[in-house]
């Protein structure tokens, strides 16, 4: 479904992604971890073309992401994205945040979009906040709205870029619960996160990155108990012993 083939990416002279080969199949939940600056977020952002790759090929559903002929807006309808800092639209209510793209991009009627939006708000457990503004919500609630906003486009793929890193510890659980539900329902998910509990419970595969390379790909149980790479061992010992 998502195929990286010898993908390289430079920011000026900085070589962020080095010869990435990675295939993510439909329904798979892939957790990407690694030290900061290892290129995990960049990897994720290439999938929906928020970043452009420098060379190699990257396809989503066999459509080349970086081809000039590809209608990127059409491709993006099928890929939801959740950001570390939520990025809800502050001038719009929760409901308006969610119905905007379905109405403007998919051409749904307002009534239809609202109905769908409410369904997803219920799913993420904050239907009662539909008419609030984002600034009136806690971080955890905002992130759940952001997830609902992504889901409202009925995408086949959801990307999560450190979705819990900006949250108070108490609110991490509520966001992870929503993500776990999605994973169990068969959503294809690529998640950049350090949440080990989440990774162990729902990830099909862990991708460990360092300095722009994918160093290790393995099942969560194998990875956490017995990482093959030295760098991965060091990384795990550091995040476990703080």
């Amino acid at each position: 479904m998502i195929v990286f083939n010898k993908v390289n990416k430079y920011f000026g002279d900085f070589h962020v992604l080095k010869d990435i080969d990675l295939t993510i199949t439909k329904g798979e939940v892939v957790v990407v971890i690694g030290p900061s600056g290892s290129g995990k977020s960049t990897l994720l952002r290439c999938i929906n073309h928020l970043e452009t790759i420098s060379d190699g090929s990257l396809t989503v559903n066999d459509i080349p992401v970086n081809d000039k002929k590809t209608d990127i807006n059409k491709l993006r309808r099928n890929i939801g994205m959740v950001f570390q800092h939520f990025h809800l639209y502050p001038h719009k209510t929760v409901l308006e945040n969610i119905i905007l793209a379905p109405m403007k991009v998919l051409g749904k009627s307002e009534a239809e979009a609202k109905e769908t939006a409410k369904k997803y708000l219920e799913k993420v457990g904050i239907l009662e906040k539909a008419d609030s503004y984002p600034s009136q919500l806690s971080g955890g609630q905002q992130q759940r709205v952001a997830i609902a906003r992504g889901l409202a486009m009925s995408p086949e793929i959801m990307l999560f870029d450190e979705p819990t890193s900006a949250l108070d510890p108490e609110m991490i659980g509520e966001v992870l619960d929503v993500m776990k539900t999605l994973a169990h329902e068969g959503m294809t998910m690529v998640v950049v996160t350090h949440e080990m509990g989440f990774a162990k419970e729902v990830a099909d595969r862990i991708v460990f990155m360092d300095e722009g390379r994918v160093l290790e790909e393995s099942k969560p149980s194998e990875f956490y108990e017995n990482p093959r790479e030295e760098r991965a061992k060091l990384f795990l010992s550091r995040i476990l012993n703080h």
Partner: protein, 211 residues
């Protein structure tokens, strides 16, 4: 000060006031529209549009307004108030474009990314997400530009634009009460600009409240 002597020409003053108001309102709306357009050009992903926008701003904000008005007057139309209003629009557009560009760039990049990643086009994201947020930031500097615009409209007098300043010139040359006339006319400019100042303050407060 003999204001009664000046007020004897009240019909001219009222007419001038109307022309000044009309020219200001037209130039204000037009430069808001074109200024937004130029601002969006300057930050768009297209290099040629960036260049065009920058060239416009740097050229027109760095030459005297009077020169622009005279050029429009001699090249395009002998109607003074039309030439003046067009000149004002061309000039003010450059300043408004800069204010709006700064406002747009003050909105976190994540807003555009979030909007684009749901499949909205660049234009839709700009109009639906970025500009409505930028407008709050932009109100105070826009207010400044609008006040300047009203005062700058006095240059219409140079091309016989029939505005307040033009009428003041006429009245002072008829009455020879030069100081009296100009002081009296200054009062009329204040009648226009002070409410505008308060309007800007009011809008600033109102937009600050709405999330």
């Amino acid at each position: 000060m003999d204001f009664a002597r000046v007020w004897a020409y009240s019909d001219m003053i009222i007419e001038g006031l109307q022309v000044t108001m009309l020219a200001s309102v037209i130039a204000l709306l037009a430069s808001l529209f074109f200024g937004t357009l130029v601002a969006v050009m300057r930050i768009s992903p297209f290099k040629s549009l960036n260049w065009l926008g920058s060239a416009y701003v740097e050229f027109f904000r760095n030459i005297p307004l009077l020169l622009i008005i005279l050029s429009v007057f001699f090249i395009f139309t002998p109607k003074g108030w039309i030439a003046g209003t067009i000149g004002l629009t061309i000039y003010t557009t450059a300043f408004i474009a800069e204010a709006i560009r700064a406002g747009i760039q003050s909105i976190p990049k994540g807003q555009m990314e979030a909007a684009r990643s749901t499949g909205l086009t660049y234009g839709q994201a700009m109009i639906l997400i970025i500009l409505p947020q930028a407008i709050k930031v932009v109100i105070p500097p826009l207010g400044n530009q609008f006040l300047n615009l009203v005062k700058n409209s006095s240059l219409l007098a140079m091309v016989a634009g029939g505005d307040l300043m033009y009428q003041a010139d006429l009245i002072s040359s008829i009455t020879f009460k030069t100081m009296d006339t100009y002081v009296f006319i200054a009062g009329f400019y204040l009648i226009l600009t002070i409410p505008l100042s308060f309007l800007v303050k009011y809008l600033e407060k109102r937009f600050a409240l709405s999330g």
